[in-house]
């Protein structure tokens, strides 16, 4: 313990030392505030330049009235305050454009249409406008916290914020990189998973406000290089699964410049948070859901291409987790009906990557979906008219050869029938016109096993018709094609009583062919129908109803025909799968021998699509399945099992029907066009379930 005097000296000295240090620090603070590096220094340099110019020009009023103060632009719009012009004086003072930065002017003519007092600076350049110190934002990457200043490399994204709609192709002057990015986006199928301005898929994040997201929204754990949003986006495009673990996004294969253009576009996607007069009208309209000029090709480019390939060629299961089928191939287009495609679009494929594109889920309108459907159909060869085909050079002999390879797998080598009807039946040939034969061959029968052969050249079509015609001419040259129809309600009751047991409750086929099929009824005239009903088909299960049993009168037949024509007008409730004509147990053996390598042990899909998918099984009729087996999908890994080939064995008609029967066993839900499961199922082993709410 020291004496009082010693303590007094000690503490007094400590106080003085502390006081001295404090004074030094206060002095340092004062100097620092007015230091050369700070904005006051910059403004003083500016004032000196003004004075120097004034001295030579002889007018020093402006220079001397220059006040050193913080200058800012306040945009009430979103409480923005930009103080950049405190140092970047050349943007607001005339006549000093040539001074070195930061005092110099803004390059280009942008400020003519985007005056600083209305737009500020950070709206286009990003960064922290409130900060008036120099060492921050303007100069480097280490800036404005979570909203760093945009590198000038991507500055065109700022133009896109107000000027560039996504679904429109209107040009934005001076934004070539942005437009390139938009073009890539529009043809990349991005919205198959992502969402933009109320349309698109729900598997990936919504991109509508992607450009407004700050750094906190991005996880940089797996990004190799510097922490900036453009880096993240570029790496994400290149390797999505690495940057976002668990993502199923396929990599975007493009050059670095193209990726930069794409990310410029993505960075331009902002919400509409400024007053409306800042935006161009197409963009405003688009944010409210207006999409003029949104045709099928646009839709395919925006939604489908990423999975289904830029030319509809599909993606293989090696490059993508579930793969996607080829849509443009002959095999698919010939076999798939419009209803199949429409059903697939509306229902999707359940747990698989193919989403449901219902308007309520995808944001697309029914008209846009229709346009997409029509665009998808353009890969199908158009059906030429009989008048055109009959002019070609065909012969029955050629037709015979063609028949053996093309038609025999279903219609039998001797035309005796099997999966398809008996074509050698004289009763049939007497009733069938050449136009009927051609229409059937060229158009096919939707949702049955008869595909469309419109992709065959005209000679071959004509040859087939001639071959089938053979020596049996058409017997009713003067018959009326379509007559006035009888009572269709009565016809319906008679249909249900007499016809449905062989032709199916909905005329979808069974033991007999599908006769309420619109394609059939388009091709068949009343004479054909009346003749078939009344006389029947010799040597088949179709007996003549005017002679045997019930003895239908002409009026009865007309009523039935009337009913059939009326039903053809109505869209069906769902896709009827048709009767199961094979033996599932035999099908199981064939499946485990031939199909599991690609389709998986339980049809869950391995290198080929999933066959046990309920949406698929509701979309695909048994005919679709049979036709797919028979024809295969040329151009993909699915071979043809009906046409002989040296590499694999041929599946007979019974075997193909057995396979289809086995596949059908996997179906537990029957989904109709409204997305609800129907209780109207007449199939062994299948229980109806309660309606599914969508």
């Amino acid at each position: 313990m020291r004496t009082e005097h010693e303590y007094r000296s000690l503490f007094r000295n400590l106080t003085l030392a502390g006081g001295l240090l404090s004074c030094v620090l206060l002095l340092a603070m004062a100097i620092d505030r007015g230091s050369h590096d700070d904005w006051q220094g910059v403004q003083r340099a500016f004032r000196d330049s003004l004075l120097a110019r004034a001295a030579s020009a002889g007018d020093s009023v402006a220079a001397e009235s220059f006040v050193t103060e913080i200058r800012q632009v306040s945009l009430g719009a979103d409480d923005r305050v930009d103080r950049c012009i405190t140092c970047h004086l050349g943007t607001v003072f005339p006549g000093v454009q040539d001074l070195p930065q930061p005092l110099g002017g803004h390059p280009g003519e942008h400020l003519v249409n985007h005056p600083v007092d209305r737009f500020g600076c950070t709206l286009c350049h990003g960064g922290n406008g409130r900060d008036a110190t120099v060492q921050a934002p303007c100069t480097g990457a280490d800036s404005g916290g979570d909203d760093p200043i945009e590198s000038l490399h991507y500055i065109q994204s700022a133009c896109g914020r107000c000027h560039t709609p996504a679904f429109d192709t209107s040009e934005t002057a001076g934004a070539a990189v942005l437009e390139r990015g938009r073009a890539i986006f529009r043809s990349g199928g991005c919205l198959g998973c992502h969402r933009l301005r109320m349309v698109g898929g729900t598997l990936g994040p919504d991109l509508t406000e992607q450009g407004a997201k700050s750094l906190s929204h991005y996880s940089f754990r797996h990004v190799q290089r510097n922490r900036s949003i453009p880096t993240w986006l570029r790496e994400h495009f290149r390797e999505p699964a690495r940057v976002s673990p668990g993502s199923v996004m396929p990599p975007v294969r493009a050059s670095t410049d193209d990726l930069d253009a794409l990310l410029t576009f993505v960075l331009s996607l902002h919400p509409i948070d400024l007053p409306a007069d800042y935006y161009c009208l197409p963009l405003l309209a688009e944010s409210r859901g207006s999409r003029p000029g949104f045709d099928g090709e646009t839709g395919f480019g925006l939604f489908c291409r990423a999975c289904h390939g830029s030319r509809g060629e599909g993606t293989s299961y090696d490059s993508s987790r579930t793969g996607a089928p080829a849509l443009s191939g002959v095999g698919f287009q010939a076999v798939a009906s419009d209803e199949f495609i429409q059903f697939t679009l509306m229902e999707g494929r359940g747990p698989r990557l193919m989403a449901s594109w219902r308007p309520v889920l995808s944001g697309l309108r029914s008209a846009e979906l229709d346009r997409l459907l029509h665009w998808l159909r353009r890969w199908k060869a158009p059906v030429r008219s009989w008048e055109q085909v009959r002019m070609a050079a065909g012969s029955a002999g050629k037709g015979s050869e063609l028949f053996d390879t093309t038609c025999a797998p279903c219609h039998g080598a001797q035309r005796e029938g099997g999966i398809g009807p008996r074509l050698s039946n004289p009763d049939f040939l007497r009733l069938a016109t050449d136009q009927f034969l051609h229409a059937t061959i060229a158009t096919g029968r939707r949702n049955t096993a008869m595909p469309s052969w419109s992709h065959l050249p005209e000679e071959e079509l004509l040859s087939l018709v001639l071959f089938l015609r053979g020596n049996t001419p058409y017997s009713y040259p003067n018959a009326a094609r379509r007559s006035t129809l009888g009572d269709s309600a009565r016809g319906g009751r008679m249909f249900a009583a007499y016809c449905s047991r062989c032709h199916g409750t909905h005329g979808e086929g069974g033991i007999g062919p599908a006769i309420l099929n619109p394609d059939f009824l388009d091709a068949a005239d009343d004479a054909f129908l009346a003749g078939t009903i009344k006389q029947g088909r010799a040597h088949t299960a179709m007996f003549g109803w005017s002679q045997a049993g019930v003895r239908l009168s002409d009026g009865d037949a007309s009523s039935i025909i009337g009913y059939m024509r009326a039903m053809a007008e109505q869209p069906p409730e769902r896709i009827y799968s048709g009767a199961v004509l094979g033996r599932p147990q035999h099908g199981r053996e064939i499946f485990s021998e031939l199909c599991t390598e690609c389709h998986g042990v339980n049809g869950e899909g391995k290198k080929g699509p999933a066959l046990n998918n309920q949406e698929f099984l509701s979309a695909a009729s048994n005919g679709f399945l049979v036709a797919t087996l028979t024809l295969g999908r040329p151009g993909t890994a699915m071979p043809s099992w009906g046409q002989p080939s040296p590499e694999r064995r041929l599946l007979s008609q019974e075997e193909r029907l057995d396979l289809v029967a086995f596949i059908r066993v996997w179906q537990t839900d029957v989904i109709d066009h409204r997305g609800r499961a129907s209780a109207d199922v007449a199939r062994p082993g299948l229980t109806a379930i309660s309606s599914r709410t969508r």
Binding site: G18, M29, F220
Partner: protein
């Protein structure tokens, strides 16, 4: 006329009066420069000056020993004053609305003249105050200055410490940036963890945590209500309470006879710390005590100015409720709690802190020995116990947290058992039990409550410091255990 009358006065009255006046003024100036000299004047300088009179006019010279108190009490009070002054200055520009809180803070930092320095001083003084208050508590404990009837003041001090933490916590939210928002979200969620107990016991409908969070935040999420509430607490309620308790704290020190001192400093009375020590042992406060306090204040000012000049108070981007920070960390003084909470929200966040506070509060009534009062660590045995408790605390922390960290935070097997079990048996409670056990062991061997309390306090202190360090430097994104400086830390968010 009068005493100073001289021959010339009748001819030059004005000159004479001026001479009297100037000589009186000169005397007064001389007096002022020299300061009061007489016993009476020096005593009255203290007792008759409003801002000095809460100090005693006579003190025991031992109280001046720098190595005894380290000036921590004065330092803490000074920090409070600095915070009040800078706080009022900040209030001129700060606006407590969610739309403008961040921008007004940014304006203070970037535009308001000297705003950056005022804010920096405020922030570093706030952190500094937490540190000095805790160190002050340690000093008071280790010198046994809670004894001899000073238990009430110890309680007031604990209350002041809680207020300091609360003030710091409420102030943390005000800048409304990402750091603030998520730190307060975590704090409120830890408080709401009180619901875990009734939920685990089967009373799911009982939800005190929800009510508590509602009380704290004015809502179930941090928003405008929370901001106003915290602002009100921070600038009005808590400072008033603080000032009142500080006044009470000082008053009690006066009533208890000034600062404690060891027995051998009481030369004549032999009674330790008794009020009314013999007058001849005391010296006048003026001017030594005030020089001592001035020294503390001056050095503290210099330190604060240095900190304010060199380091900027952080201001991250504006709070974004849709973008959580990863890792989201509570303010550093709560990181120990957060670390323990990562094992059990109730155990680490509610139960153990409450037990700890309770334990601290009852120290003066557990230990009534007054052993070695006024001496650091009481005596050599106490010093030994302290060192051993420090080591024990360190070992216990490592032993309990090592396996806990090794097991990781994704412990699915915990969910398989009845929820009450991990609630009551978790690293926090285990650590608390070990510390209590250690204190009991020390009591058993030394038969001294003072040693037992030394053991308890030291082990707890070391454990708290270690756990806080882990939470501060060793926890990265997703609360993973990472060594500082590893790549994962640097590149991750």
């Amino acid at each position: 006329m009068g005493l100073h009358d001289s021959g010339a006065s009748s001819r030059f009255p004005f000159r004479e009066r001026m001479k009297v006046l100037t000589s009186t003024v000169a005397e007064r100036i001389a007096l002022w420069r020299r300061g009061p000299v007489s016993y009476r004047d020096r005593s009255r300088r203290v007792s008759r000056t409003f801002f000095f009179h809460f100090q005693a006019s006579r003190i025991h010279p031992f109280s001046l020993t720098p190595s005894y108190t380290l000036g921590l009490g004065v330092l803490s009070a000074f920090m409070f004053v600095v915070l009040t002054v800078t706080g009022v200055l900040l209030m001129v520009y700060y606006v407590p609305s969610v739309e403008r809180a961040y921008s007004s803070t940014a304006d203070i930092m970037y535009v308001v003249p000297a705003g950056r320095y005022v804010r920096n001083i405020h922030r570093w003084a706030a952190h500094g105050m937490v540190v000095t208050v805790v160190l002050h508590m340690c000093r008071v404990f280790f010198t046994g200055s809670y004894g001899a009837g000073r238990g009430i003041n110890w309680l007031i001090g604990i209350g002041l410490m809680m207020l300091t933490l609360l003030l710091s916590f409420t102030g943390y939210l005000l800048p409304w940036d990402q750091l603030s928002y998520w730190a307060v979200t975590i704090g409120a969620n830890i408080a709401a963890a009180i619901s875990d107990l009734p939920a685990a016991a089967g009373f799911e409908s009982l939800d005190p945590g929800r009510a508590l969070r509602l009380l704290l935040l004015g809502s179930q999420v941090v928003g405008q209500d929370a901001l106003i509430r915290f602002y009100l607490l921070h600038i009005v309620l808590l400072p008033l309470l603080m000032a009142a308790l500080i006044g009470l704290h000082f008053w009690r020190i006066r009533k208890d006879g000034g600062l404690t001192r060891p027995r051998n400093a009481e030369r004549s009375s032999g009674v330790v710390g008794a009020p009314g020590s013999q007058l001849r042992d005391l010296i006048l406060s003026w001017p030594v005590l005030f020089w001592a306090e001035a020294a503390v204040i001056s050095l503290a000012t210099a330190a604060l100015l240095l900190a304010a000049y060199a380091l900027d108070a952080p201001l991250l981007s504006i709070a974004d409720p849709t973008a959580p920070e990863n890792p989201a960390k509570a303010p550093w003084y709560f990181l120990g709690v957060q670390e323990l909470v990562s094992y059990s929200a109730f155990g680490g966040g509610v139960l153990v802190p409450l037990l700890l506070s309770l334990g601290l509060a009852i120290i003066p009534w557990v230990d009534r020995e007054d052993r070695g009062l006024g001496i650091w660590f009481s005596d050599p045995e106490g010093a030994r116990i302290t060192v051993r408790s420090a080591v024990a605390g360190m070992l216990a922390t490592v032993a309990v947290l090592g396996p806990a960290i090794g097991l990781g935070t994704g412990r699915t097997w915990l969910r398989a058992m009845h929820p009450l079990i991990p609630l009551l048996i978790n690293p926090a409670t285990i650590l608390a039990a070990i510390v209590a056990g250690w204190a009991g062991l020390v009591y058993r061997t030394t038969r001294s409550t003072r040693c037992a309390m030394l053991a308890f306090f030291t082990a707890t202190l070391i454990a708290v410091v270690l756990v806080t360090a882990i939470g501060l430097w060793f926890r990265g994104p997703d609360w993973q255990f990472l060594l500082p400086g590893t790549t994962a830390w640097n590149s991750a968010r």
